[in-house]
């Protein structure tokens, strides 16, 4: 039964990984940008919540009401200025710039908050859970994060396939020149896509900050997990990303059940096995994002 519990916890953890993966996948899908500062942006969101909750007396669970708009703006402005400038120079420059950003963000946080661990205080919610039986219990928080991940994925899917802006994003992703010919301002579209990507990063960062403690140097984990989920699931498939996240989560939870120090290693090994055996991912999708 402890193994069943590990699998259940792993599936729920997969929701968090899928949430992390959304933003990475969306940026790559629309503008071929690999954002190496992805994880550090999530940590920034978590630190923002740490600052906001005591000053505004907002319940921590509602901190996204402030963090999300900030990240929407940050994403749009960041894309229109820094990312687009780098993009004009080529994919190579984008990698250098986002990696530079990652190091800068991490070290600025280190100067501001020292290397100590922080966490977003969510009160009694952290310990509340549904007891299925003696061995299996599902924490409200894990379940909530999983549900949020599914809602975000559904929303993204709906947005990309049905809304005008979603269609424009897919058009620009498919063929930038042709999209421009029919009058789409690709820079604005990129900006909107980046804003949405950053917003999902903020959500993931907040979930991460409630789920576990974090420090300025915690950005590496989220980036790697997001990337592993995307690759395991198959590039360019939103639902593949969710399945990839779940596979990664189960691998980590089962590994951690064997030996707590095995958790991250087990996830990495599953990822390496996937690129060795099936580099196109388990589900190969065609959707732009």
């Amino acid at each position: 039964m402890t193994w069943v519990n590990a699998v259940v916890q792993g599936i729920l953890l997969g929701g968090l990984f899928a949430l992390f993966a959304c933003g990475l996948s969306l940026l790559f899908g629309t503008m071929r940008v690999i954002n190496l500062a992805h994880g550090d942006l999530a940590v920034v969101a978590a630190f923002l919540a740490v600052e906001i909750v005591p000053t505004t007396h907002l319940p921590a669970i509602l901190s996204f009401l402030i963090v999300l708009p900030i990240f929407l703006g940050l994403g749009y402005v960041g894309q229109r200025t820094l990312i687009q400038t780098a993009l004009d120079r080529g994919a190579f420059t984008v990698l250098l710039v986002t990696f530079g950003l990652s190091v800068v963000i991490e070290n600025v946080l280190l100067e501001l908050y020292s290397a100590n661990s922080h966490s977003i205080d969510i009160g009694s919610l952290v310990s509340k859970s549904i007891h299925v039986n003696a061995q299996i219990s599902i924490a409200y928080l894990s379940l909530g994060i999983f549900v949020v991940a599914v809602i975000v994925l559904l929303g993204l899917q709906y947005f990309l396939s049905r809304s005008t802006m979603g269609r424009q994003i897919r058009a620009v992703a498919d063929d930038q020149d042709a999209a421009q010919l029919v009058g789409i301002d690709y820079r604005h579209v990129f900006g909107v896509a980046a804003a949405i990507a950053f917003a999902t990063v903020a959500l993931a960062g907040l979930a991460f900050g409630m789920y576990s403690s974090f420090a300025p140097s915690s950005g590496q984990g989220p980036l790697i997990y997001a990337f592993e989920a995307v690759v395991i699931g198959g590039l360019g498939s939103l639902w593949g990303t969710l399945v990839g996240g779940i596979i990664l989560g189960v691998a980590q939870a089962v590994g951690g059940q064997i030996d707590p120090s095995l958790q991250i290693l087990a996830g990495n090994l599953v990822f390496l096995a996937v690129i060795a055996l099936r580099p196109e991912g388990i589900f190969k999708g065609r959707v732009a994002a």
Binding site: L36, T93, V97, V104, N107, E111, Q220, L223, I224
Partner: protein
Amino acid sequence: MSVAPERTIEEAASAHVRVTRSRRPVRWSIAVVVVAIVALAALPYVVYTGTTDTLVNFFILLTMASMWNLLAGYAGLVSVGQQAFIGLGAYIVLLLGLHSVNPFAAVPLAAVGCGILALPISLLVMRLRGGYFAIATWVVADTCEQLVARSQTLGGGTGAGVAGFQGVDPTLLSANTYWVALAVTVVALASVYLVLRSRLGLVLTAVRDNEIGARSLGTRVTRAKRIVYLVAGAGCGAAGALLAVSQRFVQPGSVFSVQWSAEMIFVTVIGGIGTIEGPIVGAAVFFILQQTLSQYGAWYLIILGVVAIAVAIWTPRGLWGLVSRRVHVRLFPVGYWLWPRSGRNDARTTAPERSGDPASGEVPG
């Protein structure tokens, strides 16, 4: 192609132009380099150990940066996981020390070991491209750290001291470390230079300018990139081994830290990616900043990160690019100059700035 005998570029072009490696006779470059090496080798007799110990860190940085430059600047492989080889190199020294191998003798063995380990790793990570390749190398480095930290004989997560330094005079030890570091750096730079002057260097230049075009001409692009990955693995392994020898202690969290990648990338980008001289200039700038800002914690990394971002966007050829655009100096000529056989002997009117000279081309995209 199969009938015609292989001709060198010099022979092929000899009918119309004279081909040289550089504008000035190469022996001046060689003289400068030899004098620099001799002067550096004599330093332990002249200065205190504090200075040479500092220079060891400079040599480690320069070796790492030159390797990253070879990877990213010439083979287009943007790795953010070269710390895998730094760590593995350091741990090979530690492991060999447990079997009473002299740590200094272990440095070349660590380089060879990392070169060998780079082969299976390249088979995995080179299945992915661009940014995905970059993060995959990071995952590999993370995995190596996790695996090594599980070994209790290697000190687990807390690390262990390198054996074999007991009873050696500290001054002599410091001087030996310095000479080994200097030797590793010279060998690393010479290897990069020789790789780029060889046929492989021509292949890499062709790939950088137009990969699809190079492939369609039958160039074995993947093989060329893999060789570069192995060389860079061996070089970073040697740098990691130097780290273990100079610090005499190996800790997984520190030797496998992504900070090494940050340093080698910033050094190369600021100095000038895609030139051999770039990392040397960058390492000097980085080192001076690091030394002057050392009491302000992580600020040197923040400043260097911002500078590297600015350089990557606005002057992609870096500081060396700014210098060499004005004065035509090549310490390490890897390209060709064409001189017309008739008429004025002025290369500037005929020498193709970009196509003939890998050191002056663009950064790969």
